[in-house]
């Protein structure tokens, strides 16, 4: 079995999900698609179980924050087919104030911690997740630190004022 091309991959996805996906591009050869949160699980489970594509390896789930966009939080999935050696990236943009997206833990056990990490840092709520708690930060933290409005350093710190450095 050889490598399938991005065109073939895109063709079989758009046959099945007519009008539900948009192509973002192929940056550095990695086909990038965008879909909506109501279609994401159907798309992921199709990609996972389709016998021709076999994109059954979940490489990563993460998120990104674009504060100036209307739908500010993007959840990003990377899938990989170990049989066909092709990767695909799927993005779903959701509201920053109401960020709900269905969980992928039913498809992959490995999605559990990836989603917890995404929740921890971006506040994305994965509906149906069995154990959506913070994972790397402390439990009683209230902010979501990877969002752009969260400062890198505590702005109330007094030990880094300019006058300590003769400025």
């Amino acid at each position: 079995m050889g490598k399938i091309t991005n065109e073939e991959l895109l063709k079989s996805i758009s046959n099945k999900f007519e009008g539900q996906i948009t192509v973002v591009g192929e940056p550095y050869g990695l086909l990038t698609l965008e879909t909506q949160s109501e279609n994401i699980i159907a798309l992921l489970s199709y990609l996972k179980s389709d016998p021709n594509l076999q994109l059954s390896y979940l490489t990563d789930i993460t998120a990104i924050h674009y504060p100036e966009q209307e739908k500010a939080i993007g959840v990003i999935y990377h899938l990989h087919s170990l049989v066909n050696n092709v990767r695909v990236r799927i993005k779903v943009f959701i509201d920053a104030d109401n960020c709900h997206i269905p969980t992928a833990t039913e498809l992959w056990n490995g999605a559990n911690w990836m989603e917890r990490e995404t929740y921890d840092f971006f506040g994305v709520i994965f509906d149906g997740h069995p154990d959506l708690r913070r994972i790397l930060n402390v439990d009683d933290m209230t902010a979501f630190p990877m969002r752009k409005e969260f400062p890198l350093e505590d702005p109330n710190r007094v030990d880094k004022k300019d006058y300590f450095f003769g400025r």
Binding site: Y28, Y57, T59, I64, N109, W113, I135, N137, F150
Partner: protein, 403 residues
């Protein structure tokens, strides 16, 4: 304080005991906490708590120019930091569209395979210690030192190496480095053979490891395992073979696979990988003979720091020096995912750039983080002593787990 799921477990008679394994425990080799419910010595359920050394690398990276992110990657898997460094350099080079001369690729292969050997030395040595055999660990540790001495000749440091630069290496390998490398290639294989003869057919070692923590290929894939752990479960996924980077396609090497994913197969797979790494280094040395010996970086003056003496005498060099140090390099607004085969599995860098001096978003796909999540579920029904061995053979590195 949120409810800890382990306390809600059904235990009406109050017969189970709760054990806090970690956060610091001599047998866990790092900062890991597992709250276990025990029935005698058998684990009924467990919950992993992680994040004790979380240092917010992804957030820090959003405020730093690209070349200042390399030292952050050092501190993820600190047992094989050169692989992290090279993975990061290659990610940025992919973003910037730089191709490396073959000689740089081969030098990188040498450094990365040395790092893989040193990581596997620690993992397999410590596995021996946890089963009660200290000799193998100490014997092999001498050769980790030899590897660190080679790093020292190449980049000046040993553990957190910050080796290489975006665009190549900061200096050429000197003759001492090559001599030490050749000495290592001569001395290490017999030691590895002896190490294997200490363990591979050792009754005690086999009793402790064989059939312990078996993982099926389906489970391993469902948990997104990668690296030696996935290969021990019988799936031949190796990024080096599947998506060759740094000219791995020029090399002849095998991807060892195990059969039932138990601790013993993981041990055997790692030993075999060390032999393959030695083969790779030997081939790389042979290939270097045919390459011009003065090339150690790509010819990309807008991304690669000029020699210091040129900065004082040459106008272009001064401009480039200033721009690179201030992080003002022309990066395209795009996104890139690059994966390398780290010592623990697929180490991925997802870099989103908006054309600015820092990444807009940088995410590390850390194999230890993803591999570790099966630890608590798979410990159910296991003896406590087996769970300790299992953790050693997963080779979870706390720095990579928590990033």
């Amino acid at each position: 304080m949120q409810n800890h799921p382990v306390y809600t477990d059904n235990d009406p008679q109050g017969e189970l005991s709760t054990l806090n394994l970690g956060p610091t425990h001599p047998a866990t080799h790092g900062v890991f906490q597992n709250v276990l419910q025990l029935d005698g010595e058998r684990i009924v359920s467990g919950v992993s708590t992680i994040g004790y050394i979380h240092r917010a690398f992804e957030k820090i990276a959003e405020h730093r120019p690209f070349y200042q992110i390399t030292p952050l990657t050092d501190r993820m898997n600190y047992c094989s930091s050169p692989i992290n460094n090279m993975g990061w350099h290659m990610t940025v080079e992919k973003l910037l569209g730089i191709t490396m001369p073959k000689r740089v690729d081969y030098l990188r292969v040498i450094v990365m395979e040395l790092a893989r050997i040193s990581d596997h030395i620690i993992c397999n040595g410590v596995l021996g210690v946890d089963t009660g055999a200290f000799t193998g660990f100490l014997y092999m540790m001498e050769y980790r030192e030899a590897i660190y001495e080679i790093y020292e000749e190449v980049c000046g440091s040993r553990l957190t190496t910050n080796i290489g630069r975006i665009g190549g290496f900061e200096r050429n390998f000197n003759a001492i480095a090559f001599n030490k490398l050749r000495k290592f290639l001569k001395d290490f294989p017999p030691v590895l053979k002896e190490f294997e003869s200490l363990f591979n057919r050792n009754r005690i070692f086999i009793d402790r490891t064989k059939g312990v923590a078996c993982v099926t290929a389906e489970d391993a894939l469902s948990y997104s395992w990668s690296g030696p752990l996935l290969r021990a479960a019988g799936v031949d996924y190796d990024v080096r073979a599947m998506e060759p980077y740094s000219s791995y396609e020029d090399f002849d090497f095998e991807v060892p696979v195990g059969d039932n994913g138990d601790v013993y197969s993981r041990f055997l797979v790692r030993n075999e990988e060390m032999k393959q790494s030695l083969r790779l280094i030997e081939q790389a040395l042979a290939k270097l003979e045919k390459e011009p010996s003065d090339i150690f970086h790509a010819d990309v003056p807008e991304f690669y720091l000029p020699p210091k003496e040129d900065v004082y005498t040459n106008m272009e060099a001064l401009i480039y020096h200033f721009k690179i140090v201030m992080g003002e390099i022309p990066a395209p607004a795009s996104e890139v995912y690059h994966a390398v085969e780290g010592a623990n599995g697929e180490l991925g860098f997802y870099l989103v750039s908006d054309g600015g001096r820092s990444p807009y978003r940088l995410h590390f796909r850390r194999p230890s983080f993803i591999n570790y999540q099966m630890y608590a579920p798979m410990s159910r029904g296991m003896l406590l002593s087996d769970a300790i061995i299992n953790m050693s053979s997963l080779n979870i590195i706390a720095g990579e787990l928590d990033a």
